[in-house]
Amino acid sequence: MVNYLIRRLLIGFVTLAMITFVIFGLIRNMPGTPLTMDLAETDPSRQISPDELERLEKIYGLDKHWSVAYVQWLGNLMKLDFGRSFREKRPVSTVIGERIGPTLVLSATSLVLAYLLAVPLGLYTTARGGKTDERVTSTLLYMLYSVPSFVTALLLLNLFYVRLEGTPFQLPLGGMTSMNYEELSGFGKLWDRFLHMLLPVACATYGSLAYYSRFVKSNMEEVIRQDYIRTARAKGVPPFQVLVRHAFRNTLIPFVTLIGLTLPGLLSGFVILESVFTWQGMGLLFLDSITNRDYPTIMGLTLMFSVLTLAGQLIADILYAFVDPRVTYS
């Protein structure tokens, strides 16, 4: 097992190096540089002269070929230096660090909600398989899964922000806190945050809820037809116990992989939703840094998402061996 772990970690590092290399090459070959993107916004009278541009390019390391710059970036990474954000003029680690919290709050809440609701829903639909209420529930879940979250977000905003304007039910347009957040009392602050989270969390949750419960159900349907389930039923085990102890336990293997695979989504998944609700998380930061060609920030975020994905897969594989004695790593 230890050997296996060491091997996986080594391969992980190689994988990381290759991913960052590809992405680094791609983003450096995008048209426009952080300097010219900035110029596009400022007025013509403040245009930088070619000499000045050259000087700035030297400072930011844009004068070198991208492969040289990549090696430099890697070298700095070894010293845990992610570089400085072009746009914010601050270290990338600080810029990203500030955004982890908001994204984590949003994604962890919605993930926990989704899992808590999905397992009972999946078991319920399996138990009632083929009956009218199961068909209705399953169909509704498919429908929910198919509604794009940004469409829901827009429709909910149209309802709660535009149509209910002036009523006590009006919800904020976006952001994480109100303008007068600082003046609110302790409970008021909490309530304010809650109100701001309501729509984003709702939009982020319903899709994965539908997906997970469908996942549970489709796995359960395979297991429920096995002979040992019939045996368990025949010897008089109560239906609920058959469902949970005998059947659900045996669907855990794919479920475990799913947890590992959703881990990276925890932090990177909400690019569109964060952009709709101007939620100051990593997804929005990523989108902004792409449009601004803020290379160090893009690279920092890419590295982070990749590490998370690799970690998620490793955890999934280890859990795999944990829950299924047939799988061994030796």
């Binding site: 391969i11 190689v14 994988t15 990381l16 290759m18 991913i19 590809v22 992405i23 791609l26 983003i27 070959n29 995008m30 048209p31 083929g130 169909t139 498919y142 429908m143 899964y145 198919s146 509604v147 794009p148 940004f150 469409v151 827009l154 429709l155 905003l157 149209n158 922000y161 535009v162 489709s218 349907e221 395979e222 037809r225 794919p254 992989t257 695979l261 990276p264 990177s268 690019v271 569109i272 952009s275 709709v276 990523f286 989108l287 792409i290 893009i298 975020l301 890419t302 998402f305 990749s306 994905t309 690799l310 897969q313």
Partner: protein, 363 residues
């Protein structure tokens, strides 16, 4: 004695093939069949989009020749150059009458253009599109800010949505199934290598890759977008296929096939693949839906199908800036929703129709 009497008295009827049998079972499922009809209808809308909404005649006779100017909605180059030479400037109604009194034309059902605003008097009795008009008799789904008809944009946007779903998932399934099958069945060093490749592609945040690739290309088209979606979206299919193959290669029937001398490729694609296809069809069906979702999401963010392609997501993008214009949100949102739903239902229908294990239980 004739040869005939040697034949058995009764010949057992040929049992229907796997596909015919599955199709029969698929059709028995009402929702899935309905979804299939919806996709067929949508395909028809996509094919006949220039005849449903447009400002160019479907067929016209002009100076002795028969032309099909509406085809230029598929490809601008298909517009006959005679119309450029005669300076039509996309205004067919007045120019046809003016330049050739003997001309005739068959017009689309709705005189609206997905790319530009219809002006007053362009069509006899047409008052012209207002900017931000709510749904009305002339603009069934309203208009957007420049006064372009939303209905026309949605009809023409159907083409993009369907193509994106089909092509990108086709690419993804082809790569995913091959890689997954090879890694899962052959195992060993190859599995190690392919698993690393899967991990690598999975780790590249799809959005980074899509945005970076689209930005690097000088003139990204919808085809580039499809290729990128296909090249990034195959990993879940590959992983599931690999897991299935890992499981199935230990089974008795595979051992039996091997004992009978079946070759590797034969076992992989003839014996294991059909049995592993059912679980893999779930990610494929969701894959089509996801591709349509991502395309509309990218257009929604302003990164998608480059203008002036009318895409459902582009309309939603306009709706985001104008939250009170519900028609810019509801109609394209509904279109994306129904298409994605249809593909999900079809996928589920296929799964239940082809999976022998599910079949036994639900005769």
């Amino acid at each position: 004695m004739s040869n005939a009497s040697l034949q058995p008295a009764t010949v057992a009827p040929a049992s229907p093939g796997f596909i015919a049998e599955s199709w029969r079972r698929f059709r028995r499922r009402k929702l899935a069949s309905l979804a299939f009809c919806f996709v067929v209808a949508l395909t028809l809308v996509a094919i006949f989009s220039p005849a449903i909404a447009g400002t160019k005649p479907v067929v016209c006779k002009y100076q002795g020749g028969i032309y099909f100017p509406a085809l230029s909605y598929f490809n601008p180059r298909w517009e006959n150059e005679i119309f450029f030479r005669d300076g039509f400037r996309q205004r067919y109604v007045e120019n046809l009458k003016e330049k050739d009194p003997n001309s005739w034309a068959i017009w689309p059902l709705v005189y609206q253009d997905p790319y530009r605003r219809v002006r007053e008097g362009e069509w006899p009795g047409h008052p012209g599109n207002a900017s931000y008009a709510p749904p009305n008799r002339r603009n069934l789904f309203g208009t957007n800010h420049p006064g372009v008809d939303v209905f026309a944009q949605m009809v023409h946007g159907t083409r993009i949505a369907l193509l994106v779903g089909f092509v990108s998932t086709g690419i993804a399934a082809l790569i995913g199934l091959t890689v997954g099958a090879l890694a899962g069945y052959l195992g060993g060093k190859l599995d190690m290598l392919l698993s690393r490749v899967i991990e690598m592609v999975m780790c590249i945040p799809a959005l980074v890759l899509i945005l970076a690739l689209l930005a690097v290309l000088d003139t990204p088209t919808i085809w580039h977008l499809m290729a990128v979606l296909g090249l990034t979206g195959w990993t879940s299919i590959a992983r599931l296929t690999r897991a299935e193959f890992l499981k199935l290669r230990q089974t008795e029937y595979v051992a039996a096939a091997r004992a009978l001398g079946a070759g590797r490729l034969r076992i992989m694609f003839r014996h294991i693949l059909p049995n592993s296809l059912a679980p893999v069809l779930v990610p494929i069906s969701f894959g089509i839906a996801a591709a349509i979702l991502i395309e509309s999401g990218l257009s929604f963010l302003g990164f998608g199908a480059p203008p002036p392609n009318p895409s459902w997501g582009t309309l939603l993008n306009a709706g985001r800036a104008n939250l009170q214009m519900w028609w810019l949100i509801l109609f394209p949102g509904l279109a994306v929703f129904l298409t994605v739903l249809a593909y999900n239902l079809i996928g589920e229908g296929i799964q239940e129709a082809t999976d022998p294990k599910l079949r036994q239980g639900r005769k």
